[in-house]
Amino acid sequence: MRMLINVAETVVADALRGMAAAHPDLVVDAENRVIVRRDAPVAEKVALVSGGGSGHEPLHGGFVGPGMLDAACPGEVFTSPVPDQMVRAAAAVDSGRGVLFVVKNYTGDVLNFQMAAELAEDEGVQVASVLVNDDVAVTDSTFTAGRRGTGATLFVEKIAGAAAEEGMPLERVEALARRVVESSRSFGVALSACTTPAKGSPTFDLPPGELELGVGIHGEPGRERRAMMTSREIADFAVDAVLEDLEPRLPVLVLVNGMGATPLLELYGFNAEVRRVLDERKVPVARTLVGNYVTSLDMAGCSVSLCQVDGELLRLWDAPVETAGLRWGR
């Protein structure tokens, strides 16, 4: 195990202290595990709060700032945060126009955010929630917990964040967030398992020379294991898996996302293959983002997320954003 840590127990707290040191425009409460933009609550603005297990950085804390989230609640590694965190965050960012919770579809996140929403409403905060479930690798049926929330979370937080920044009311921001969810799909591939600090050994056993197709972002195994494939073959498989479900009629945003241990050199090469497949399938690309945004600790591999966008969604995607993990415009 080669990890740049002190002890497993303090990994999250240590990272939060480091974030505080690096980003003076954030208020980082390491004890209560809430990251808030320094100018919150922003007058007359709907606030966005998200959160989830740690280990997916820069998601979510790296997306706190003007144009995106107002607050993020990091849980333990791969463990959803507790309701107390979201209640505290909601109280810190609510300007009186309400709070939107952005929740990735995992049983733990759903239950804890649900409890938090009830508690925050008891305290007089108006709360709406949107569930992100974009991962086509999971069959969405009554026999599973439903599709997981993965890369599309970035699309939702960016676009809904821009809508809130423009002063839209809670119902509009919520409706836009839902539209982004409905317009987005993702598929992930692991070339290696990841190692949680607490366990110290890989979360699943993936022999060299094999890859896991349809992997999640918590080191949970995927649906199918195959002999190692080329970047070209993986792009064909992943993009087709997404397109089979999305069938876009509009141009798409493309997120080629690294899982944490795959170099940008390889991710850009993979993006070239993703573009080739999209060209072959006659899907026009509106914007592309390549990098490590929704990671899974030290897992090697990547995911592809597509979001079909009309003029309004594209305008909100292009709107200025100033966060640690995503920054453009102005």
Partner: protein, 202 residues
Amino acid sequence: MSDTVLDAAFFVRWMTAAAASVEREAGRLTELDSAIGDADHGNNMQRGFVAVVKVLEADRPEAPGGVLVAAGRQLISSVGGASGPLYGSLLRRSGKALGEAAQVTREELRAGLQAGVDAVAQLGGAAPGDKTMLDALVPAVAALGTSFEEAATAAEEGALATVPMLARKGRASYLGERSIGHQDPGATSSALLFAALAEVAK
């Protein structure tokens, strides 16, 4: 045994024994969770029950119901994941059902725990056979009508019975057929709770 009355001190001993048991078995719970989940169940339960013991030491409620409500609240505030709300609701709702009585009988405890198990089923949307903690809890609460030992045995057997099941809830459900052949970590920790109950009732 059926006439035994259980007071708040008994419930504190139960929670303390459960904490010790979770501490002992944390490695095994995490190991089971790494096969079909995300390898954190042991650590999360350990963190939660350490917090429960601490809060009960600091402020000991006077009624059995109060002990379970305080323990449940603490689990919700400290565990996270799905286990936090599910175990937290189990204890909190059981405690609420026991009310403010200073002493309860085994039968009253059984009825209280039944309310807690119903809350878990409602919150998680699961049913017995879905390879979840309910597969240990439901038979255990039923057997508590007979004795503490029978309840512990039923919980343990219920946990073992999850091995051939196909997971339909929680993270293990993503695995589909590949979830078969592994014991459910949540059912396993539920069995620890009933083993601890039988231990302190001896």
